[in-house]
């Protein structure tokens, strides 16, 4: 069970302060959604959790340990775009994570090891509903399928924390509803925590067990870059999606059709 603690984190680029004094604790197995206006630093914060960037001040710990200074398999990520590999098949995209682990030099598995890896990857693909497409290339998939694939890639590494950066922002409403159910299901089955940035407040309320809203608390009209954003609302939620049981995917699709 993954517990995350963020202590007095600042992120500054030169004179520009993006985040200031951000502190919070995330209890184990939390689906934390993060909302806020554009430019409020919510994506910046996700990059800090990912170690894509290092905070100017403060520290982030996972289960008491400071996070590694670079992206690691303990934290999986799904971006809005470009996070699958266009030169690999669907299956190849998922097997890749196992190949990195099992073949340090070639990055490729062969023979029995490969068959085992493919079986494991197929199970994950089945879980996200992409098994039938396993031999396709990403460019042949729809936007929603690509995001499913990106999720499957992360799942094979069994991350303790799943980071989602506006993952459904480019999808049509019907597909988005289906994706909501998928991530909720994966969250409930797996032991991991989820940290999801979205600009859609409704989505944030619908999915999260906790909602954080980032915004600037102090504004200097003469120097808007002087102050950074902080957490302005911290709302515990009982995700309605789960309270009502799964809303049928057919309902969602019919509503949009």
């Amino acid at each position: 069970m993954t517990q995350i603690s963020v202590r007095n984190v600042w992120q500054e680029y030169g004179d520009k302060v993006v985040l200031e004094r951000v502190s919070f604790e995330l209890a184990p197995h939390t689906f934390c959604t993060v909302a806020g206006p554009s430019g409020c630093g919510k994506s910046t914060f996700l990059r800090l959790l990912l170690s894509q960037e290092t905070p100017t001040r403060g520290e982030i710990r996972i289960d008491g340990e400071p996070i590694a200074p670079e992206p690691m398999p303990d934290r999986g990520v799904v971006f809005q775009r470009y996070s699958v590999f266009p030169h690999l098949t669907v299956l190849g995209n998922v097997v890749l994570g196992l190949e990195f682990e099992g073949a340090p030099f070639t990055g490729r598995l062969f023979g029995a090891a490969r068959r085992r890896a493919e079986e494991e990857a197929s199970e994950v693909l089945e879980k996200v509903g992409l098994f039938a497409e396993r031999h396709s290339r990403p460019h042949e998939l729809s936007g929603g399928m690509r995001q499913r694939l990106s999720i499957a890639q992360t799942l094979i590494k069994r991350p303790r924390l799943l980071l989602l950066d506006e993952p459904f922002g480019a999808l049509d409403p019907g597909t988005r509803g289906a994706m909501h159910e998928l991530v909720t299901k994966l969250f409930e089955e797996g032991g991991m925590s989820v940290f999801m940035v979205t600009h859609d407040l409704q989505e944030a309320f619908k999915l999260g067990t906790r909602l954080l809203v980032f915004d600037k608390v102090r504004v200097d009209e003469q120097a808007p870059e002087r102050y950074g954003a902080n957490i302005t609302y911290d709302i515990p939620l009982d995700s309605p999606l789960r309270r009502h049981g799964y809303v049928g995917i057919e309902d969602t699709l019919q509503k949009t059709a």
């Binding site: 994570g97 990195f100 990403p138």
Partner: protein, 274 residues
Amino acid sequence: MPHGVRWINRKPRSAALLAAIPLALLLVAYLAGSSVRLAENPNDKLMPAPSTIAETWSRMAFEPDTRTGTRLFWEDTAASLRRMGLGLGIATTVALGAGLFVGMLPYARATFSTLVAVLSMIPALSILPILFIVFGVGELAKVVLIVIGVLPFMVRDLTQRVVELPLEQWVKAQTLGASSWQLAVRVVLPQILPRLIDALRLSLGPAWLFLISAEAISATSGLGYRIFLVRRYLAMDVILPYVLWITLLAFAFDLALRLLRRRRYGWLDAEAAG
């Protein structure tokens, strides 16, 4: 034709036919010029009749040369293609390694990218004399000229392609546990190979230029050597088929690379379109 349709919206029914017209006109102009000149002076060398050109070509291609005992046309072709293949092969291999190295590692980029930019500004032909001095007038200098001529461009181009890969992919691969090396061989390299083909295609023109220049100055065989050798006899009946042949070879290389890219890396174009 409907009134008021803009010129940018009018499209020819048969593009192939239109494309053939200027080529046909060119041919007709040559034939006319040639026959006029030959009627005036049967010994005119500037515009030989097609029959003369064909005769000379078949003599060079099929009859052993009286002095060397070889079929000059094919010997020249083989010599030139060997230099071209060596030069481009070396340049491509080095460019691939250097492009990955400089493109992937910030330390390498900081150290070498300025150097590569400066080197790519040197007009390669201007250092040809240096190459002859350093490497002698043998095969090596010609191959090195091709390498030096196209390498800086290829390295810069490939470095750029590496840097252009979406940042999301770099981060994603790291979260899947990739080391720098694994990232290079499984993520970057396979996506760079089609770009390498593009870079090679763009380098073909300059490579021919460097090859023919080097052969013109110092060689004992080769397509460029032959053209410049017979120039002093005004032997247009040799020069013209050689020029056509070089053009055909250049076109064939380009076509082969284009087909290879389409066959093996179709996903790239589909990706770009989607």
